[in-house]
């Protein structure tokens, strides 16, 4: 923020980058504990954390893509597809490790198709992933023949991934933590991570700096596809059925998480820490609105408003540039 007084040098009123997010989180927690006495209940908090993990994994994938100034609308469809594929494999008697590996591979491939289109065929990311969003949804429906797939007994042995606990903490939280640690290391400490930020801040300058822009762009979509498939398996595990109509709107959830977390839709700015914060804020809001008995319809209104607010704040900060 900048206040300008005629003739005097501009006075900058600014907090450290990203501070607003954590302040908002603290305020939100404080408000939530007032709104509902159940909010700070450990069981409820673990529930919130599980939500953070489920959606946060998608948010991390989306963060990679948005950092390069891209977008991936197909993640919700990939979630559904990998869930259906996993359910069908288990139903057919495949082992759980084989199911996991192949479902992840399928999601990764779909990410690779997105990457191919965006990085090499130069299709705008929005269009490319809009197309694959519809196509992959179609593949999932074809695979499941329009209905849901129930792997029966096999699903019980798989329940630990999404629904189980390890040391009294829901398993998905461990998965999410691992994803975050790896993502953080890649973004902050590798030359590939550096290339992602470079491509997102100025792809021409990146090219002239000898950075392989197409490979970098391709890779982020692959990562996003992989994480979407991982998330799809966790959903499958929790729900115990593969539903080709699941995951609708998850792409928007993931984008919201990344953007609230301070990852700029203009590329080159943001990171995993913010994404964790963004996922937490969204999960808390959903949780507290539930606890307060607000209808799911009104919840959507609130969520939409939050997206706009987050982007408005971001644009306000950018305007001084």
């Amino acid at each position: 923020m900048r206040l300008s007084i005629e003739g005097a040098p501009a006075i900058k009123v600014s907090l450290p980058r990203g501070a607003g997010l954590w302040i908002a989180l603290v305020v939100l927690i404080a408000v939530s504990s007032f709104v509902s006495p159940h909010f700070l209940n450990p069981t409820n908090l673990l529930n919130v954390l599980r939500q953070v993990a489920l959606y946060g994994i998608l948010g991390v994938g989306m963060t990679f893509v948005i950092l390069t100034r891209g977008i991936d609308l197909s993640v919700g469809s990939v979630v559904a597809f990998s869930g259906v594929l996993g359910a069908i494999m288990m139903e057919a008697g495949w082992s759980i490790p084989a199911t996991v590996v192949l479902s992840l591979a399928a999601g990764t491939m779909m990410g690779a198709v997105n990457g191919l289109g965006v990085a090499y065929w130069r299709v705008p990311a929005f269009i490319m992933t809009l197309g694959t969003m519809v196509m992959i949804r179609g593949f999932g429906l074809m695979l499941a023949d329009g209905g849901t797939v129930n792997p029966g007994k096999a699903a019980e042995r798989f329940f630990w991934l999404g629904g189980g606990y390890l040391l009294a903490v829901p398993t998905p939280i461990y998965v999410f933590a691992l994803v975050c640690i790896v993502a953080y290391a890649v973004l902050s400490h590798t030359s590939f991570g550096r290339a992602i930020f470079a491509v997102g801040s100025n792809d021409e300058a990146a090219r002239l700096s000898g950075i392989d822009v197409p490979v970098t762009t391709f890779a982020v979509y692959v990562i996003c596809g992989f994480l979407a498939a991982l998330s799809g398996l966790i959903f499958l595990s929790r729900l115990s059925v593969g539903d080709p109509n699941s995951g609708l709107g998850l792409e928007l959830e993931a984008i919201t998480i990344a953007v609230i977390g301070g990852t700029s839709l203009f590329g080159g700015e943001g990171g995993v820490a913010g994404t964790i914060g963004g996922a937490t804020i969204l999960a808390i809001i959903a949780n507290v609105l539930n606890l307060a008995g607000v209808s799911p319809f009104s919840q959507q209104v609130v969520k939409g408003a939050i997206i706009i607010l987050a982007v408005l704040l971001e644009t306000g900060r950018r305007r001084r540039v």
């Binding site: 400490h189 470079a198 100025n202 300058a205 000898g210």
Partner: protein, 499 residues
Amino acid sequence: MTDAPIPALRLIGVTKSFPGVKALSEVTLSVARGEIRALVGENGAGKSTLMKILSGAYVADAGRIELFGEEVAHPTPAGMIARGVAVIYQELAQAPHLTVAENIFLGRLPRAGLRVDWSAAKAKARDVMGRLGFDIDPADHIQDLSVAKRQMVEIAKAMVRDAKIIVLDEPSAVLAQAEIDELFGIVKQLARENGVAFVYISHRLGEVFALCDTVTVLRDGKTVHNGRASDLDAQALIRHMVGREMGDIYPRRAPKIGEIVLETKSLSDHALLREASIVLRKGEIVGLFGLAGAGRTELLRALFGAAARSQGEVRLFEAPALVKSPREGIAHGLGLLPEDRKTQGLFLIQSVGFNIVSASLGRIAAHGFISARRERETVTTQIERLRVKTPSADAAVQDLSGGNQQKCVFARLVAADCRILLADEPTRGVDVGAKREIYDLLVALASTRDLAVLMASSDLPEVLGLCDRLYVMREGRIVKELDARRTNEEEVMSYAALH
């Protein structure tokens, strides 16, 4: 124009500054009804700023604009159009997928009730074309027309809007000779018969004499000459354009010139570049001079691998080299300082350190993991060596001054162990003090680090003051090689500008 006491357009003491640069300083100019006035000057003399003031896009800091004796108090783009000023830019601002008639009436289509009256629009457009003698069908789409025809559409649009003053920005740069002749005929006809006042901006001195009645010369944002075209010849005009004191902002140097490090034979690209053959030696600073669109940037980009070659050979360090991408260029020891620092050079939102190491990620990383220590060392070394003035390595590069931003791009190239520096307009948009520092830097890099420097510039004094040799380019070709110490601005300009 003799009995028109009130000029159609008059600028008095117009001044415009941008942060760090005074683009126009007390510019005075007047054009009478029916007069065609040439506006000439070197790149950066202030022509485009002046044009933007005439179009209302910029507002002058001081001075007056008078139209037919009336001062324009608060110029805005819409206001200037309404007062009859039409500015026709080189990059035409048209809607290519709309028809000629739609473009002509853009924003003021004739209406019948709530509907657009298309038949009236077409009829009116046809009528204007007929009056002007243009052979253009109003139903044609702009994208199907030649550039020359598109310019005619713009002129027709200006006439429909009842323009009394038309500013043409280098219209001939994109036209063939026959089209230029046709354009000149139209301009003369409109001036003589309709009394339209023209401001004709051009680099081509021949045109000034062929078309214009009067000439205004801008240099460094000041009016240095106002007079009749017939009182001047080309040499006198060039002297007005370039005639400034060289000063001593160029460092003295005793170059130690070594072996050939870069050699091209008949290098062409798919666009503008035609059969360019040059040599570059270690420790040498070679200039590449030409006016806008001469092919300087294209040559540098083709060498660096940023643009594809269509034919020709390049030898680097005495071995044939096929540089197909900037990545390969950097691996061969080439470094490109791009023309536009902000859109091609810098990661503006990132830190100084990020910008400096971005071309040497391989050097500061092992197995893909960046060594924080090596990164810090590289950044600190370069900031010190190039004397980048920054609060810290973590400061955003966009907060630095133009000169220091440019140094960050230099630092990136040096960090990547560049041995042949291809610098495209290295001092563009930096103030005089920073220019001097960049000159010192170029000289230091050439002499102490044995770099070979190929420097494209449209700033003639800079090329002459700094370089050992220079190549003059025109229309994509190298037209002359000159010893920078045994030539002068007039000679260089005569190769660059005259046909």
